[in-house]
């Protein structure tokens, strides 16, 4: 049994990660799920939240927006619109983004096409703050 799998985290603007990983924990829509090598073939939607990637006790943490993940025994491909490593998160920017998104959302009704756009922003900003506040 392999001890690692290939992990790709891809956003439309860059290939964020392409490396071997021992385990990951990703925020699925039905709750967080962990992946170890040899996982069953799975396609899932992801919520905005924390993605942790690692080998041992101290995982690398990333904040991701909503997206998709495809898991096979040797490979995990995560497609998200935005992703950022914990170290690169600027909490003041995230807070600003969150406030702005909240303000826009208050003005809109849910059926408005703009609503989902701002909602995504809000969730991503929340995810960034949440990941940033985690102590390692």
């Amino acid at each position: 049994m392999a001890v690692s799998f290939q992990l790709d985290v891809i956003t439309p603007e860059e290939q964020m990660l392409s490396e071997d990983a021992g385990f990951i924990v990703a925020p699925g829509v039905d709750g967080c799920f962990g992946v170890l090598p040899g996982h069953a073939h799975l396609v899932t939607l992801l919520n905005a939240g924390e993605l942790s990637v690692g080998w041992g006790e101290k995982p690398d943490r990333y904040a991701i927006s909503g997206g998709y993940a495809e898991v096979t025994a040797e490979r995990v491909t995560i497609l998200v619109e935005r992703a950022v490593a914990k170290l690169d998160i600027d909490p003041s920017v995230a807070r600003e983004e969150m406030a702005e998104a909240q303000k826009e959302l208050d003005k809109l009704v849910i059926s408005d096409p703009e609503w989902s756009f701002w909602n995504k922003r809000l969730n991503y900003a929340k995810a960034c703050l949440e990941v940033h506040s985690k102590k390692d």
């Binding site: 790709d8 891809i10 956003t11 439309p12 603007e13 860059e14 290939q15 699925g28 829509v29 039905d30 069953a40 073939h41 799975l42 396609v43 899932t44 939607l45 998709y68 495809e70 898991v71 096979t72 025994a73 040797e74 491909t77 497609l79 619109e81 096409p113 703009e114 756009f117 922003r121």
Partner: protein, 297 residues
Amino acid sequence: MPNLKSLRNRIRSVGNTRQITKAMKMVAAAKLRRSQERAQATRPYSRGMGLMIQSIASMANEDSAPPLLAAPKGKRVCIAIFTADRGLCGSFNSGVIRSVRSRVVALQNQGMDVSLVCIGTKGRDVLKRQFGDLIKRTHIGIAKDLNYEKAEREVSSKLLVEFEKGEFDVCMMVYNEFKSAISQELTWRQIIPMPVDEVKKEDDDEEGYPAGAPYYEPDEADVLNVLLPQNVTVQVFQALVESDASEHGSRMTAMDNAVRNAGDMLNKLNITYNRTRQAVITTELMEIISGSESLKG
């Protein structure tokens, strides 16, 4: 023989043109590098998305396929045309426009109802003369500060809403795909509904793909329903970045040619100028000599 003053003016103006085209070439080259990186960075995402969709779509059955995947039912076609906002980039815009023209006429002959969405002003400016009433809207300045969110918000979400409302049945896009700094390839691609042939064909290329259906969370239909609109956005975004990179590549090549032409022209003009000047001097000398000769006699 032109006179000396007008030649000097010509030389100065050609020199200025060369300066300008040289500057534009430099600017295009600098922008090209950034755009090219971005175009290449987008490809893995859209490929990953394509693979994910095909693995689901190949299992979805024909009758229950969502509208974004099912075969088109009506005869209304929307064409999204990606051109530049600015000219001076060789055949970049005209190639797209020529192709659109012939395609629109061909579609209309087949009894299709065509509408156009122009992304970039150059396409609209030319096409409105012939197909003014077909143009639904124009997006201007998208390529500036382009990012994924912007592409989604301004272009693809509008297309999707219109599709849901039933304003068209098929959406195609035409853009220049970036090959290298000196070559672009005009590409037509159907984005709504997603062509099923393409989905199946890609399936064969994939190696080592696990057999059998994966588990879906929440379930197959939900995943597909989120994935398909997203895919439209990705395709639109990719077309935008490819088109942007192609524009700069094309402009760089065009300006390089222009600089060279202006240089050749300058050489020729300088030769003519020197000859003319020499002729003038010779004539003046002859006049002086013949004058002094006649005084002697």
